[in-house]
């Protein structure tokens, strides 16, 4: 089953957020960075908890693995592929030239952009669903994060969802 316009296969896995359960502990962020990069640095997390602690607004921002993946389409070096196992839109760091076109494309629709720059390596990073065992879901202590998987593919993100502003 293919995406609406792009012809790119739908993702089969997707992270689902139940915002009301989020306690803003940010375990997901620290686990994500350590899992993918071996260091504790929320700036390298592919999931981002936007938290306004004074107004009690907590919201984990996850990559939707969009039906029409704007990041993938914007990439001039074809560095973003579809993971055959999960359908996740995955960046190959060796092919990434650090141009940030994917970040801008995602940011057009979703704020904060779900693709981020690893400034030290000058490559873009994004959620790869940990090849089907998302560590953020595994550790989330409140149940605010879930992993949904469907063999037949899941309509998600752009253009299904409305724009999200910062």
């Amino acid at each position: 089953m293919a995406g609406i316009e792009s012809g790119i296969p739908l993702t089969r896995g997707v992270l689902v957020v139940e915002k009301a359960l989020c306690s803003a502990c940010r375990t997901c962020e620290s686990v994500c960075a350590v899992f993918h990069h071996g260091v504790a640095d929320p700036g390298l997390s592919r999931i981002q908890v936007t938290a306004d602690f004074l107004n009690i607004e907590f919201s984990p921002k996850t990559c939707y693995q969009c039906t029409d993946p704007l990041c993938l389409q914007a990439c001039p070096s074809d560095a973003i592929h579809v993971d055959p196992k999960t359908g996740a839109r995955v960046i190959n760091a060796d092919e990434c030239i650090g141009c940030e076109a994917c970040i801008d494309a995602c940011g057009e629709y979703f704020q904060p952009p779900r693709v981020r720059l690893d400034a030290a390596r000058q490559v873009a990073i994004k959620c790869d669903l940990c090849s089907g065992d998302p560590q953020c879901v595994r550790f989330c202590p409140t149940g605010a994060l879930r992993y949904e998987y469907s063999e037949s593919g899941i309509q998600s993100g752009h253009p299904v969802k409305e724009k999200e502003h910062a």
């Binding site: 359960l21 071996g38 504790a40 202590p141």
Partner: protein, 687 residues
Amino acid sequence: MPSPIFGWVGKILRVNLTTGATEVVETARYTHQYIGGRGMASRIYWEEVPPDCRAFDPENKLIFTTGPLTGTPAPSAGRTNMAFKSPKTYSIESYAHSHAGGHWGPELKYAGFDGLIVEGQAKQPVYIWIDNGRAEILDAKHLWGRDTFATQQELARTHGPRIRSFVIGIAGEKLHRNAVILTDTDSAFGDSGPGGVMGSKNLKAIAVRGEGRIGIARPRELLETSYELFRLITRKEGEPEPPHPWRRMGGWAGTKMEEEQQRGEAELGLAACFGCPVACRRTVKLRDQSMPAGALQCSAMQSYEELEKRYYGGKTWGRTTFRASQLANMYGIGSRELLWNEATREDRGGLNWVEDCYQNGVLTEENTGLALGKMGSQEFIEEYMRKLAYREGIGDILAEGIPRAAEYIRDHPDEFNLTPQKAAQAYALYEKATDPRMGGYFGRAGRFGGYTLHRWGASEYPLGLRIHSPVCQIFTAVDPRDAQTQHDYSIHMVAEGHSWMPPGSDVWRNTLENFAEKWFGSKQAFEASTYDYKPEIAIFAQHLNLEKENLILCDWIFPVTYSRYTSDYLGDRELTGPSKLFSAVTGINKSRDEMWAIAERCWNLERAISCREGRRRQDDWLLPGYFDLIDQQGHTIDREEFRRAMDRYYQLRGWDAETGVPTRIKLEELGLVDAADDLAAAGALPG
């Protein structure tokens, strides 16, 4: 090329507010012997804060430390420790440690610092801005006089929404002895009054932004060790158990707030400190926005709920309780100072003393200007907190904390239109409550710190067991401040609050007996009717407490002695969780026993600090009201039994039983030769 460091980020920032100078101290100077957190802070205090300095002197320092786990995925690794000369301990100001959660500690590490030492005194209000390895002292005239929420909002407007700030409110500015240093809406260094010390330095806030990283020596091992602990704390593998203990308990069930939520007037939730699977704070957002949104913790919630219920009727825990705790947070006042409970309970706080004084004609509506007859109303608490924070009228006296306020009233009867006899009752009520079942006041700091009566002091335990008492008596006698170790003890040793094994049940008894046999060689070790094993248990618990506070982890979670999710309810069986986390993060392999040896060194250094500041064995005693208490089974504390237990405690500790000062042999064994030399030079060392 320097070798990579893991866990710690390598530098401690020193900011001198008198000179405006900043410098960097190498963390490695302390890590080998003290690891971080409370151990490292006490070492810096030992080296840098003169024993004769007063709490509000420029020579006092605010020593903030994180630990090697702070900011990593280790469960609950979001905390920060402080050491300073406390203005709250009574009758003399002395060393104290204080702790806070939130997200500031991790941010400090991402900014490149393991700790921060603030010294000196600014000429005018300033704040410290730490931005990715750089620090500036900036003008805070526009922030002075603002509450803690407004101050943080203004700082976020200036430096961006991602910063984290520790700030003081009006109470800290006004040198309240129970003022806190607060971050977000409710996480604070609440114990021992650090807010006033910060105010005495003209320091309004410490704002931090960090975008750096913390190296992890063995990332996969850290994740798997953390996961095992998460699993013990929150859920069985593969079972999406409702994970939150308070949610399991029903959270808001049976409260006025729950009714508000059902009517759509309040939105309720949970908030966690960085990396914490427990999320012990509840959040409230009112639809009509008549009060700011906020999170709050149990001690704050308990402070006014019974009074609210008594005044308004109906259920506990409505807007008035929320507002009372929020006022404490916004003004930056320690909420335990507000605590009120029924006379039959032992966790009675500052408002209990005020009410007892009112009922005995010591404090009146006339001599206080307070509507004391309306205690429990929102109107009363708004006025009380305002006067307290701004030190208006009676608030100026109360801002000194209950013991000193009681002393002041006793010594100044004319100012309150009282006879000397009546005024003396203010102190008598503080010192020794008249009803033996009543106890003293929770917020009462004894000489050298400890609260005389923690809630487990003489047992209000459901079955009338004296289970907590003997160990907690020792804690209370020897701790440098409120004996926080009791919290660890209640939850992690005798399994208070574990709903799946109610105290007194067979499963509870079996579990505790298994634990007692494993660690103390006797199923009877926790038996409360005897002092046998209690000094040993006290030392064991003190070392577990320091092990996690050096790293730093939270006492809501560690040690993970028990777990709902194992077949026999035992948790981290060998208690190796903290040492495994430490080894995985830093790459330095330390066994559990080595970690406990470091904890012993830290405990002895804190004792050396106390002794240098004048503490001796006669100070390690319970205040008079304690011995008059009668528990539900009719027991009282036997002075001789308690004295013998203390003798054994000193003996096991390697301290001189006569003076309570550590011996040279013990100090040298722990590598504290300089502490032995300093104590000897001061004539304090026995032998």
